[in-house]
Structure formats: structure tokens, C-alpha cells
């Protein structure tokens, strides 16, 4: 396999070290290496590397550049709150902090190019310089000219520089409509089951044999491979459950080689982990605690188990009113909230588009007036329209139980949507003895 990583420009031992660190990615690394060429040669101006999460994109590139000691600048686009910090980092890692200080406040792209060229003339590149942009998909949100310019940076600054773009999504979604220089595309495919097994087996526990750990990984993959192929998640799960796997061994019940018994012991446990840990219902710390104290495992509840919210009395009714306003058509208010509405049958009542359930369509926006009108007819006592009623509406908005739809002036009839689920509102209305189902048009 190591034969794939051969290049006349680099020393053999280094390439050997690189190959050791990149299991199952030899093909991609070799491809990159041949694209990069010898250090002093010009490389292709921009290379676009894509593949799913945890398919080894950054790892391969970082290991290559570090081990071969090539000049490079790694920037994650999430961190670049402005283009300035991107430019600055690039200059900083190529030319030192003096160069970065030359950038004016809120620099433009041409400032960057100017400073770069100025510096380049002082210390021109003997080896290809690499700019690595992780999470490149965020570049699309930046200025329209940034991405096309980065793609042909080599041409702009007249230097031996190559831009590597790393992303989880394909190039097609990047292409600006004004057209641009097409980068070379390099795909990192997902790891296969065998490859995952091979990689996961690498971080074995120091006090157990490699075969033992490998058999553990095998069992783990058997359970989780169908739902999760993310290497990072799998590694996390492997670390969490290993102590449980070793338990019978420590108690002296089973030998290391008795895989079947070990499997029988761990399997239900892994199933449970799939429901809780994988969904992050329970944090890893809690999971470890749970394993230590097996008996009270049921007592620990996940994040989504706590849905109960205590609210002040009128806030509850405001929320109920908001829910009714969101899910009932406005025409039907008369029927629900007027005392002598007469009998209106649902069949006559239905319009064509309303035949589908409102609950399937989601909440609809409603004006403040309607909310208050429903509120006053729903709440059983007389309520003064005091300031605190109105402030409760806005605090419901900050709690994200309501959302404000129109961003207009507050004075000009603001509109809201109710953002809580049916279960939640049923629980709330039960606490105030209000039968909400009777007031919902969908359940008439």
C-alpha cells in the first residue's frame, strides 16, 4: 500500500510516516500528492475537496502538509466573522505578524492582494504555499467576489500558491452565477465497514490486547453501523461502552477469547445506548454514571423528558389563546367564542383548502387584536388590560413559545405565531381546567 505514496520530490521516510498516519486514505493522499507536485513546482491554483463529515478531509491534508513541512495557512471559515480575519490569518502564517499589521481597518480584497504582492516581492515562495479553507460552504455567504478571487489567487498575486477548499457539500452548489475559475474536484468517499473497523481498532485500550479490542469494535459496528457511519460518533460510542464490555472480564467470568458470551453481555446495553447516548438525550458523563450504578438506570431521564414548563396563570391563557388563534381559521372564531352563534355544521363551513388539517399545515400568523379578543373570552375572570398582560406576551416571545412574524414597528399591529406543540398545550390547559380540544376546529 505504501507504494501509492511515492514522489520524487520528498524524502522516503517522511512519506512513510505520512502513510502510517493515514490508514484507508492512501488513494486520496497519493492523488493529492501528485497534484501538489514537487515543492518548488507550481501546483494547480485551487482544489476543491469534498466528502461527508468525518471522512478524513482535514486530517489527510493537515498530516500531509505538516509532515512534509510545506508552508500553509489553515483557516476555518466559521471563525472568520469578517473577511478581515481571513486575510489576516493567511498573511500572518505566510509572512509573520508585520505583514498582517499592514492591512488597513476593514480591508477589501484588493487591499489583501496588494499587501500579499508587496510581501511576496520581499520573500518570494521557494515552495508552494497552501491556503486551506475549512467549511468552505460559508464562503458563499460572504461577498460575491471573494470565492471567485480565492479560486484564482495564484494568478492575482503572481505567487506559487494553491487554495484548498474543504467542504461537506458538492461543488455544484458553490458555482456563482457569474461564472468562475473551475477548481479541481477531489472526492473523499465514505469509509466502508471494513475500513471503519480498521481505523477504530487503532485506538485500542493500552491494557487489553489488540485482538480483544478489535472484536469489541466488530460487535459495536454490528449494532451501530446500520444507523450511524460517522467515524467520530462511533469512536465516541466505542469509548463510552468499552468499560461495560470489559466488566465480565474483570469479574473473571469470561475469557478474552469467548466472544459470544461477551456479545450476549454487551448487546442489550448497546441497544440502550442507541436510544439515549446517540441522540444526546443523555450526556456521556451521565451515561458513565448510569453504568456504574446499574440499578437506578431508569431514574435518569433524558433531555426531552423534561417538557413541563411552569407558567404564570395568565401566561397560560395567553398561550392557549395564541394556540387557538394559530390553528383555527379566523372565520370560525364566531362559532367558538360567541354565546349565541347558532348551529353551524362543519360540512357547510368547510372551504376547499381547509379540508386538510390545520395541524398538518402548521401554525398561522395572527394579529395581536385577535389574540387578545380570544384571551378575554377564554379566561374566566375579568382581567384588566394591564401593562403586565402585554409584557407577558413579549416574555412569551423571548421564551420562544410565541414567535413574532412581522418585523415591523411594534405600534403597527404586530403579528405572532404560536410555536408550541399540541402535547404541550394540552398539558398546559389541563392545569387550568380548560378543555382545549373542544375549541379546536380540527377536532370538531
Amino acid at each position: 500500500m505504501a507504494s501509492l505514496l511515492q514522489h520524487p520530490g520528498y524524502e522516503k521516510e517522511r512519506l512513510q510516516r505520512v502513510a502510517e498516519q493515514l490508514p484507508c486514505r492512501e488513494v486520496q493522499a497519493g492523488m493529492l500528492l501528485s497534484l501538489m507536485g514537487q515543492p518548488h513546482q507550481y501546483s494547480y491554483p485551487s482544489i476543491f475537496v469534498y466528502g461527508h463529515r468525518a471522512s478524513g478531509k482535514s486530517h489527510v491534508i493537515n498530516v500531509l502538509l505538516k509532515e512534509l513541512q510545506l508552508p500553509h495557512a489553515t483557516v476555518s471559515c466559521v471563525e472568520c466573522v469578517s473577511v478581515a480575519s481571513l486575510f489576516e490569518r493567511v498573511l500572518l502564517s505566510f509572512f509573520g505578524c508585520d505583514a498582517a499589521a499592514l492591512l488597513p481597518r476593514s480591508p477589501s480584497l484588493s487591499d489583501f492582494v496588494r499587501v500579499y504582492r508587496q510581501q511576496r516581492s520581499q520573500s518570494s515562495a521557494k515552495e508552494t504555499r497552501y491556503v486551506i479553507l475549512e467549511k468552505a460552504e460559508l464562503l458563499r455567504d460572504a461577498d460575491a467576489n471573494l470565492l471567485p478571487a480565492l479560486l484564482r489567487l495564484q494568478e492575482l498575486v503572481e505567487d506559487n500558491v494553491t487554495v484548498l477548499l474543504l467542504s461537506e457539500i458538492a461543488w455544484d452548489t458553490f458555482r456563482p452565477n457569474t461564472g468562475c475559475f473551475e477548481p479541481l474536484l477531489l472526492h473523499f468517499p465514505d469509509y466502508s465497514k471494513g475500513e471503519l473497523q480498521q481505523i477504530l481498532a487503532l485506538d485500542r485500550h493500552p491494557s487489553y490486547s489488540a485482538e480483544f479490542y478489535s472484536s469489541y469494535i466488530n460487535i459495536l459496528l454490528g449494532v451501530f453501523y446500520s444507523v450511524c457511519r460517522d467515524l467520530r460518533e462511533l469512536r465516541h460510542l466505542a469509548a463510552l461502552n468499552f468499560s461495560k464490555f470489559c466488566e465480565p472480564l474483570a469479574e473473571g467470568k469470561v475469557k478474552e477469547s469467548d466472544t459470544h458470551k461477551l456479545w450476549r453481555n454487551i448487546e442489550p446495553h448497546l441497544k440502550k445506548a442507541m436510544q439515549t447516548v446517540y441522540l444526546r438525550e443523555v450526556s456521556s458523563l451521565q451515561w458513565e454514571k448510569m453504568q456504574q450504578a446499574e440499578t437506578e438506570a431508569g431514574a435518569l431521564r433524558g433531555l426531552s423528558a423534561h417538557t413541563h414548563v411552569e407558567l404564570p396563570y395568565y401566561s397560560k391563557f395567553l398561550l392557549i389563546a395564541a394556540y387557538l388563534a394559530s390553528y383555527n381559521p379566523a372565520r370560525t372564531d364566531k362559532r367558538f367564542f360567541l354565546k349565541h352563534h347558532g348551529k353551524i355544521r362543519k360540512a357547510n363551513f368547510l372551504k376547499k383548502n381547509e379540508k386538510t388539517s390545520n395541524h398538518l399545515l402548521g401554525p398561522k400568523p395572527f394579529p395581536l387584536d385577535r389574540l387578545l379578543a380570544i384571551f378575554y373570552s377564554v379566561v374566566d375572570s375579568r382581567v384588566a388590560p394591564s401593562a403586565s398582560i402585554f409584557s407577558q406576551i413579549s416574555s412569551l416571545v423571548t421564551l420562544q413559545l410565541l414567535t413574532q412574524v412581522s418585523h415591523d414597528d411594534q405600534l403597527d399591529a404586530p403579528k405572532y405565531k404560536c410555536a408550541v406543540s399540541m402535547d404541550f398545550i394540552c398539558a398546559i390547559s389541563r392545569t387550568v381546567n380548560f378543555d382545549i380540544v373542544k375549541y379546536l376546529y380540527d377536532f370538531l
Binding site: 466559521v78 466573522v81 469578517s82 489576516e88 466505542a238 463510552l240 411552569e310 404564570p312 396563570y313 401593562a387
Partner: protein, 724 residues
């Protein structure tokens, strides 16, 4: 002003700094005294108020600290554990090291109270775990760079520049030349942290290496507190966490989320790819109702504070809490308001203080104050009960009145001293009864006791009936708890009650040993009908049999336990009737009780809309001008323009024709000017009237009653409904 300049020109003179003396002389007291009823003793009253308020604030803070202790302690444990596991070279924890430890702190929806919790949390963290604590609020972090800036500012204690046009000025003002090139990124923070920890390591070389405490201190975690998670922009939060996870190897970060609703918001806000970077642990704080119960217990249900709230004011404060905000802080603010109003408006509140001081203050009462005492309804009632001779002296002789007042004040204090323990006893007895006839919380019982004679209510009777069915061991535990409560009080009557209670308890306990034989005898009688019962399957017959059994048991001679139980309940009943009478029955209760519930309601639960409507529909209410007086529902034509326009607009439908409105307005105003209705000029629109009308309309628009509409050009739309 003169300058040293030779040339002519404009010079700017900045005003010299205002002299501080002027400001400092205007203390709180200077705001208190003007407008005070009975100005002569206002200084004393202000001092009393101030002392009392200081005591209340320190007490409530202590209560709050006590309540938060548990959750804060567990949180501190969590942070310590996180920072210590990070340094372990254990295989499992190494594998897990890439997660950011996160504490989700569930605080409930009473957002105003959270500030205090967070304050004490960050203080505690800084004291005992780490110096690096930053707390951020959603409203100051609209975008990622702002969040970054705030975090860095607060951690590094220095200004940080942000590459942004809007912030240039601000940044330039703040930044010192030293930090000119500091950029808003976590890598800066990371560098700063490394140098900081290195520095502290080299500066303390004397300590021995290898001790675990030392290790912990080498790498104190960096704590970032998000005070209100729900209000954060999810996008910003996600990006921030993604960035944090890139640095977690070098920077021991720890996040704390303050959550008001439920922990599932985390899942709503963060996608799996982000939440998988966190290791979340949940911490549940005490619910706000429990919090309120403790505060009421410590603040209101105690004879320690001489100031009291009457039933209605209590009701207002509690209903604001339960119906509107759930905020304990606002409740305490309400108590403060009542306290202030009481000392401000009631001249006799000089007597509202500890017993000794009150007795002293009685001797210093002026003639005017004594007259005020004579005016008090409770005192009048007291006088009417006296002999005619005594009545005359009370009304005429000031010295005698002072003596009587001292006695009355003593009685009032005694009443309070006995009231609370008896209230607590009654609550312990009744709070575990089925269906809670006297309320689940002690505050409900307190409210009933404040309003009427509790022993005359139906609920009390039913509670007593239920108590008569208690089993022996239940009764014993309840009575023991009562004895404990009564035992803490030092007063003659309570001591006597304690002796009686303990006597009863010993008798009850002796029953076991002394009367076992009789008990078995009683069992025999009971078992035979029970056996019969098992044969019967018909519901009607069963009912009949049960009734018969009941009858026979009632007619039967009471067992010794039942006798003792009745005795105990009689004792409780006598205590209740003696001590739980409402405060209105006490003479001079006005001194200690604040009773203006309307005032409190007006201040705390403002109704801006109704006041605007009142101002517009009956301007007399605010302007107090005789000419504006009018009958119900009408507006005098001399009222301000806006009132007339408002009144007229009420008569219209959803859309109002501006020209018709103007005509109507002109007619009303002409009548006000006294123009003869038959003349030609009547109701014509001249320029002045036109201008006044336009102004009134735009004022109404500003207040939000109407708005312009695109449906019809010469119309405006009404934004309110209803009218005449």
C-alpha cells in the same frame, strides 16, 4: 471666559465638572419628606423605614443564598470535576476529551429573579474554581462577532477591537494602544490563556509539584455563562460552539446555559452535529412557588418585623405573583412599596417598630398625633366599650391616653407573638388532610385568618371533622410537630399551651401500654359486623350495613384514645379562637398594618390603556377643571380638542371619513365658542379649526387609535373596536 490665545475665533469651553456637594446632599430622605403626612415626625419615620428595609433586604438575600446553595454547590462540583477529569490521562476520558462540558441550568420562567442567581454563581465560581468567568446576555450578542467580543472583553478584562464600521468609534475609545492588534477570535484568547497560566505557574515555583490541588489550579477552566439561552440567535450559538470545539484541546472551556423553559430547547436550537460536541448535564433549581413560600415564611409570617400587610394587600401581591410574573424579586419590591407608602402616609407609623422603641415613641407623641389616635376607627371601637367616665378621660386627658396606648401597643405585640405559632400549628394539622379544606400553602390559611374569624368558616369545621378521624400515630406525629413549633416561642400563653400539649402527648403514648386490653375488647365488637359484610354483595345492602355500623359506633362509649383525641382537638380549637382573630379586631392595628390595596395595585399593575381612555373620555378626571364636568358618557364641548375628536371617532365604524369627522368637530367647537346656532358662521371650518383638528387627529394616530389606510384615500382606519 478668557483664553490664552492671541488670535480671534471660536473656542469651546467644556463645563467644569459639577460640584459633588450639591448631589450628595439630596439623599433618599429628601425625597421622602416632602408631601409626607404629618411632617413633624417624618425624620423618625424615615429612619424607621430605612432600618426596617435594610433588615428585610439582608434577610431576603440570606434566604435566597440559602435556597440557591444546593444547586450552586452541585454546579461547582461539576465544574471542578470537569477540570480535574481533563487532566487525567485515563484512556476513557482521553477519548472523550473533545466534548465541551456544559451545564444546563433550569431556572424557571421567572426571568427577573435570574440575575441574582447568576451573580452569586459567578461570584462563587470566581472564589473557588476559576478566575476566568464571563457571562453574556442575548441582547448584547446579536451577531457572532459581538458575542466573541463580549466574551473576550470579559475574560481578558481589556478592550478588543472588532473589524466593523459601526464599532470603530467605540473601539477607538476603548482600546488602549497595547491592544491595538488584538483580534476578536478565540485563538487570541487561547494565547492569552496559555501565557496567563504559564505566568502563574512560574510565579509560584515554591509549591510542590505533583499535588492534585496544584494540578487543578494550573488549568483553571474558562467558564462562559449564557444567561438566557432561549433568546439567543441559534445560528450564533451554533457557530460559537463549533469554534469552541476547535480550541477545546488547548483551552479548557466550560459552558453554562441558563434555561427558562425546558431542556428540550437545547435540542430545538442546536442540530445534532453541534449538540454532539457538548457533554450536557442538567441542574434543576427550586421552583419559584417554593421560593416564594420560603420568603413569605421568613418575611411575613414572623413577629420579628413590626410592619404587616393586611389581607387585601397580601392578596394583590400574591395574585400579581401567581397570575403575572412568578417573580419573587417583584414580590419583595411590592413589599418595599407598601412599606414605603405606609411610613409615608401614616403619621402614626412612628409606633411601627420594635416594642421597646415603640413604647418610647408613645411618650413622645404630640397632641396632634394623639388626636389622630382618637380618630382611628379601631380606637373608637375600643373607647365605646369603656365606661363613660373612662371614655371622657381617654378623650380629654393626653397623659392618660399615652399610658393606655402603651398598654395597647404591648397587647398588639403579644397578639403577633401568639398569632404566628398558632397559625403554623393549625397549618401543620390541616395541610395533610384530604382535599386541603384550609389550603395547601400556609399563605392561603394566613389570608383567610386575616380576613375573618377562621373558626366560623365552613372549611374550618370540615377540617375539624376530618381531624377527628385521624389515626393515633398520625395524630401523635402532628401534635409533636405542633409542640415543636410552640416550644420555640417565649410567651406565657404559649408555654402553657406547650405544657398541655406535652401532657396530652405523654398520655397518648401511654395508651399503648396501659390500655391494650380494652383495645382488644373493642376489636371484638367491631369484627363481627365486618364478617357479615363479606357475605353481602348487594350495593344497597352494603350501604345500609355500613350506615348501621356507623350508628352503632357513634352510640358506643368512646374509647380512651377517642377521648384524648377530642381533648387535643379542643385544645387546638381553643388556641385558634383565642389567637387567630383577624388583626382588624385589634385596637391600634392601623399602626402596623398597611391596607391600601388599590394604591399597591395601581403602582404595580399599571393599566396604561385604561388611563389613556379615562383621560380622553373624561378629561375632568385628570385636569380637575370644573368646566369639564359632564354627565356619564358625554364630553363637554369645552374639552381639549383631542377629547372631542376621540369622542366623535367612537361613533364611527372601522373606516372614518376625515371630512365628515372635521365637519362634526367644527360643529362641536363652534358651539363651545358660543356662536349662535342659527347664524351662517355656525359650523364653518376656518383655518384655525382646521389646524386644531389636524393636530388632534395626528395625536390620536400617535396614541395608536387610528392609522392611515390605503383602502380609501380620504379615510383613516380605527384600530380599536367598540364605542357607543
Amino acid at each position: 471666559m478668557s483664553t490664552s490665545s492671541v488670535s480671534k475665533g471660536c473656542f469651546v469651553f467644556k463645563p467644569s465638572a459639577p460640584k459633588k456637594k450639591k448631589n450628595s446632599s439630596l439623599g433618599l430622605e429628601d425625597y421622602f419628606i416632602p408631601g409626607c403626612e404629618g411632617a413633624e415626625n417624618s425624620h423618625v419615620r424615615f429612619r424607621l423605614f430605612d432600618d426596617l428595609w435594610m433588615k428585610i433586604t439582608t434577610d431576603t438575600e440570606a434566604v435566597q443564598d440559602e435556597l440557591n446553595r444546593q444547586i450552586l454547590d452541585s454546579l461547582l462540583d461539576f465544574t471542578r470535576k470537569c477540570s480535574s477529569t481533563r487532566q487525567h490521562s485515563n484512556w476513557a476520558s482521553q477519548m472523550r476529551a473533545s466534548e465541551i462540558p456544559t451545564a444546563a441550568l433550569m431556572l424557571g420562567v421567572n426571568v427577573p429573579d435570574h440575575d441574582m442567581t447568576f451573580q452569586s454563581l459567578s461570584d462563587l465560581l470566581q472564589q473557588s474554581v476559576t478566575p476566568h468567568v464571563a457571562s453574556v446576555q442575548a441582547k448584547e450578542c446579536g451577531a457572532l462577532k459581538h458575542l466573541m467580543k463580549r466574551v473576550l472583553e470579559r475574560l481578558m478584562g481589556a478592550a478588543v477591537t472588532v473589524e466593523d464600521e459601526d464599532d470603530v468609534e467605540e473601539a477607538e475609545q476603548n482600546s488602549t494602544p497595547l491592544h491595538k492588534s488584538v483580534h476578536c477570535s478565540l485563538s487570541t484568547l487561547c494565547d492569552w490563556y496559555i501565557t496567563k497560566t504559564k505566568k502563574s505557574n512560574t510565579s509560584t515555583p515554591g509549591k510542590k509539584r505533583g499535588s492534585p490541588i496544584k494540578d487543578e489550579q494550573q488549568q483553571p477552566p474558562v467558564v462562559i455563562i449564557f444567561k438566557d439561552l432561549e433568546a439567543f440567535n441559534p445560528r450564533v450559538l451554533q457557530d460559537f460552539i463549533l469554534i469552541c470545539s476547535r480550541y477545546i484541546e488547548h483551552l479548557p472551556l466550560l459552558l453554562i446555559f441558563g434555561i427558562a423553559t425546558s431542556p428540550s430547547t437545547i435540542q430545538h436550537m442546536l442540530p445534532h452535529s453541534v449538540s454532539s460536541l457538548l457533554c450536557i448535564e442538567l441542574f434543576q433549581s427550586l421552583s419559584c412557588t417554593q421560593h416564594l413560600a420560603t420568603v413569605i415564611d421568613k418575611l411575613i409570617l414572623t413577629p420579628e418585623f413590626p410592619f404587616k400587610l393586611n389581607g387585601k394587600v397580601m392578596q394583590v401581591l400574591i395574585s400579581i405573583f401567581l397570575y403575572h410574573d412568578f417573580s419573587v424579586r417583584n414580590f419583595i419590591k411590592g413589599v418595599q412599596l407598601a412599606l414605603q407608602e405606609h411610613f409615608h402616609s401614616q403619621p402614626l407609623s412612628v409606633l411601627c417598630c420594635q416594642k421597646k422603641e415603640a413604647l418610647l415613641n408613645v411618650t413622645q407623641l404630640s397632641h396632634g398625633d394623639l388626636e389622630r389616635i382618637r380618630q382611628l376607627p379601631s380606637f373608637r371601637r375600643f373607647v365605646e366599650k369603656q365606661e363613660s367616665e373612662e371614655r371622657m378621660t381617654l378623650l380629654k386627658n393626653d397623659a392618660h391616653l399615652k399610658q393606655v396606648c402603651q398598654q395597647l401597643i404591648k397587647d398588639l405585640h403579644k397578639y403577633h407573638k401568639n398569632y404566628y405559632p398558632v397559625l403554623r400549628c393549625l397549618h401543620t394539622l390541616t395541610s395533610s388532610l384530604p382535599r386541603y379544606p384550609l389550603g395547601k400553602q400556609i399563605r392561603e390559611l394566613h389570608l383567610t385568618c386575616l380576613e375573618k374569624n377562621v373558626w366560623e368558616t365552613e372549611d374550618y369545621q370540615s377540617a375539624m371533622k376530618l381531624l377527628k378521624m385521624l389515626a393515633k400515630d398520625e395524630l401523635i406525629t402532628l401534635l409533636q410537630r405542633c409542640a415543636e413549633i410552640v416550644g420555640t416561642v417565649k410567651s406565657k400563653r404559649m408555654k402553657r399551651a406547650l405544657v398541655q400539649l406535652e401532657d396530652l402527648l405523654t398520655k397518648l403514648k401511654q395508651l399503648d401500654t396501659a390500655f391494650t386490653e380494652t383495645a382488644t375488647g373493642a376489636d371484638d365488637i367491631l369484627t363481627s359486623p365486618v364478617k357479615d359484610l363479606q357475605k353481602k354483595t348487594d350495593l344497597f345492602q352494603l350501604q345500609k350495613a355500613l350506615l348501621e355500623m356507623n350508628e352503632s359506633r357513634r352510640s358506643k362509649k368512646l374509647s380512651p384514645f377517642e377521648l384524648l383525641r377530642n381533648e387535643a382537638l379542643e385544645l387546638i380549637d381553643s388556641l385558634v379562637t383565642a389567637h387567630l382573630s383577624p388583626p382588624e379586631a385589634q385596637t391600634l392595628y392601623e399602626v402596623c398594618y398597611y391596607s391600601s390595596s388599590a394604591n399597591v395595585r395601581r403602582h404595580l399593575n399599571a393599566t396604561p390603556r385604561t388611563s389613556i381612555q379615562a383621560a380622553l373620555s373624561s378629561p375632568f378626571y385628570y385636569l380637575q377643571n370644573e368646566s369639564l364636568k359632564a354627565e356619564d358618557g358625554t364630553v363637554s364641548n369645552a374639552a381639549p380638542d383631542i377629547c372631542i375628536a376621540y369622542k366623535l371617532h367612537l361613533e364611527c365604524g372601522r373606516l372614518i371619513n376625515l371630512y365628515d369627522w372635521l365637519e362634526a368637530y367644527a360643529t362641536v367647537v363652534s358651539a363651545a365658542e358660543g356662536v349662535d346656532p342659527d347664524s351662517d358662521n355656525f359650523g364653518t371650518v376656518d383655518e384655525v379649526k382646521h389646524a386644531r383638528f389636524i393636530r388632534a387627529v395626528s395625536e390620536l394616530e400617535f396614541l395608536g387609535f387610528i392609522k392611515s389606510t390605503k383602502q380609501k384615500t380620504d379615510h383613516v382606519a380605527r384600530l380599536t373596536w367598540g364605542g357607543c
